[in-house]
């Protein structure tokens, strides 16, 4: 499983409230991985994709850039060998991506889906959103919201 990529990170340079503790960042990384796996494992989901500009969308949803404490785009789903120094990224199959932005008061998750042709798109989106919300609540995240968008139907 790949390491998560960090979008944003400590906000000191952006005028935020302060640096994100390493412990909290690791926790968000793990959570993003879990959310990606949950979404990818939902019946009717063909794949999970990162949404372009998702971090900004999520931050806007949380009241602006200054409010964000931490954000992460987690990669989960397909275990892979560690990339060698010379390995080109395009040679490796991409993995589900979920964007998570958190503040002290709110949590926002943004993701794109391709759904299977035989499934019902709206039903799949609702199921994914429900599972993610349930998981976020179980993990004690404050005031979670999710934004799920279907971007393709796989035949």
């Amino acid at each position: 499983m790949d390491d998560p990529t960090i979008d944003g990170g400590p906000l000191e340079a952006e005028g935020g409230a302060g640096a994100v503790s390493e412990e909290r960042q690791v926790g968000l990384d793990d959570l993003a991985l879990e959310l990606g796996a949950l979404a990818a494992g939902t019946a009717g989901v063909d794949r999970v994709r990162a949404r372009p500009g998702a971090v900004e969308i999520a931050r806007q949803g949380l009241g602006g850039l200054a409010a964000a404490v931490a954000s992460v785009t987690g990669r989960a789903g397909v275990a892979s060998e560690p990339a060698s120094a010379g390995e080109s990224a395009p040679a490796r199959r991409s993995q589900p991506l979920v964007t998570l932005v958190a503040t002290d008061d709110e949590t926002r998750v943004v993701l794109d889906l391709a759904v299977e042709e035989t499934a019902s798109g709206p039903a799949v989106a609702r199921e994914v959103a429900g599972r993610l919300l349930e998981h976020l609540v179980a993990r004690g995240l404050p005031d979670p919201t999710v934004d799920v968008r279907i971007v393709g139907v796989a035949s």
Binding site: P52, R93, G121, R126, V146, I150
Partner: protein
């Protein structure tokens, strides 16, 4: 309607579909550019690259194509077009010349335009904490794929007219087809309409007040298509 020459319908030279193209006007339901959101991710992968990728059996995995919804929709459409042309060449080589490459290029230009992400179309959610939607590009690709699934049909263009971004707003869907020469046009159009309606019903919550199917042209290969 033009002569039933092999893959004659578009017969326009390759290149981007001009916005002022009469066929892209209201009669085909194409949404004017001004109604669409600004696009930033369109046109990242050329048709040549898609062709090469198909030729290589989609290996090695190309994330720029496979992970981009618009590029993937174009790839799938190109795959269907190539499969159709291969069928015609194999089954009726003497009677039907190979498909006109410019026609395929014209259709691919349409596919490229229509696979853009476009507007977000809302889906209902039982939970106020979740926001759900499907992209206009996904719906157009869905319509195209459903129409193409009918034997003897190639979707030339498809469009959604109306305020799809407003929950419950009535919209009109327009689909333009090329149909294999000699087929029962009414029957084929009905089949295409049923396929598109079923796909829209399954994957969207659009309020479709009209689903217009126009047979814009014909191409050869009726016997081979079994119609």
């Amino acid at each position: 309607m033009s002569d039933p020459t092999p893959f004659s319908p578009a017969a326009r030279p390759p290149g981007p579909v001009p916005p002022s193209d009469p066929e892209a006007g209201p009669e085909t339901g194409r949404v004017p550019d001004s109604e669409s959101e600004p696009e930033t991710e369109v046109g990242g992968v050329s048709t040549e690259r898609l062709t090469d990728y198909l030729d290589s059996g989609r290996e090695p995995y190309d994330p720029l194509i496979e992970d981009d919804p618009a590029s993937l929709a174009q790839l799938v459409a190109l795959q269907r077009l190539r499969a159709l042309s291969a069928d015609l060449v194999e089954s009726d080589a003497a009677a039907a010349p190979a498909p006109d490459p410019s026609w395929i290029a014209g259709v691919m230009d349409r596919v490229r335009t229509e696979s853009r992400t476009g507007r977000d179309i809302p889906l209902t959610s039982p939970d106020a904490r979740s926001t759900l939607h499907i992209t206009e590009g996904a719906v157009r690709s869905l319509v195209r794929e459903a129409g193409d699934s009918v034997p003897g049909v190639v979707v030339v263009s498809c469009g959604l007219a109306g305020d799809v971004g407003v929950d419950g707003a009535p919209i009109r869907v327009d689909v333009a087809l090329s149909v294999v020469y000699g087929a029962d046009l009414r029957r084929v159009a009905d089949l295409a309409r049923e396929a598109v309606a079923e796909a829209l019903s399954r994957h969207t919550e659009l309020v479709v007040e009209a689903l217009d199917v126009t047979v814009r042209d014909v191409h050869l290969g009726a016997r081979e298509a079994g119609l």
